[in-house]
Symmetry: C2
């Protein structure tokens, strides 16, 4: 739903895309993700995106009406992926297992999709100008809902007493750290080291000790 297709004169209908359109928008999304995630919105240039996508600058603007449109489309495309791991937290599951599984899902995202993580980090760091409404709408609602679940687990004595919202914040920060601060993590551990196995063990141990009686 994110991309708006050819900007002005859609060649076919607006619902049907040719194979070449589909392929080009996919290539463009990947290129834009690479460039925006490392340089931020204003630091990124259409030249960089075009050359990363292997096409000319005007051709990029044939698919998206502006630099802003690419960025917005990217964020919208990713936002659901970003919320899904928390959505999957199941009140009927075993509480500690559910939380550890959520931690593992988030850590996997940092490992497998670090650029997406840095794209969001860039956006939020700068005050979330383009996604503030999503944060205070969809995201807040989801957090409130899942915080209530955690609170009930805690009230029922199934996990130790804990502030549910700050628990969620801590899962976000601990897992996303390995993607967002990758440069620092590798500066400390050495470029060769894969931090994820040790990170997973550390985080499972941390949340287990904190939450189990």
């Amino acid at each position: 739903m994110a991309q708006d297709g050819p900007a002005k004169k859609q060649p076919k209908t607006r619902t049907t895309q040719t194979r070449i359109q589909r392929k080009n928008t996919a290539v463009l999304f990947d290129a834009a993700l690479a460039v925006f995630s490392t340089h931020g919105f204003r630091g990124a240039t259409l030249d960089q995106i075009a050359s990363a996508a292997g096409m000319s600058k005007p051709n990029v603007l044939y698919y998206f009406r502006s630099k802003e449109a690419i960025h917005t489309a990217l964020l919208e495309k990713l936002i659901e992926t970003w919320l899904d791991p928390l959505r999957a937290l199941d009140e009927n599951g075993e509480p500690l297992d559910e939380i550890l599984a959520y931690v593992r899902r988030k850590l996997s995202i940092s490992r497998d999709h670090p650029r997406e993580s840095r794209l969001f980090a860039n956006e939020i760091l700068q005050g979330a100008p383009r996604i503030r409404s999503v944060l205070s709408g969809e995201l807040k609602q989801l957090v409130d809902e899942k915080a209530a679940v955690i609170q009930r687990w805690s009230d029922a004595g199934k996990i130790r007493d804990v502030d549910p919202v700050h628990l969620i914040f801590s899962i976000w920060s601990l897992t996303q750290h390995y993607a967002d601060f990758d440069a620092q993590v590798h500066a400390v551990l050495g470029e060769e080291t894969d931090p994820y196995p040790a990170a997973q063990h550390y985080l499972e141990s941390l949340f287990t000790r904190m939450l189990s009686h």
Copy 2:
């Protein structure tokens, strides 16, 4: 040591600054910190910095030879402040107290100096192009040293077994989250809420449960 004074023709000696120079560079640092921390290096403009400092653009460039020079000077000025809280971790103190005190120092920095936190976050997020040598030099050395301290505490049975480097990473990520992701924290908690009292309680509880027998 960071600023290089008037760029080309230092008016007096290079070691002595006039009162007006001292005042202007201080004002400039504050303005630059505000602008760079919210927009990143390339997103920031000299116009924004100049107007935030209440001076004209050429006047800004009278004090620093380039935009890059302002940014570098800022980072250099802040780096020691950034490392000091970890330096203060004392092997001879009571282990859990030392770690909790470090957590509190870091959390206070997020609360009192969020712009500095976001400046570093921006820099590291973009691959730390301008401070990579500090990270793999001074910072790595300090982390190695303090990780060894924590390892000895752990070996001596004074705290529970823990990966010392990931423990340090977790303190960084958990505390800096409240400054760097301020926009998200407030979107979830509401603009009026001060997250820090609850954050401090949550984090103390987290590390106490994780580290004490």
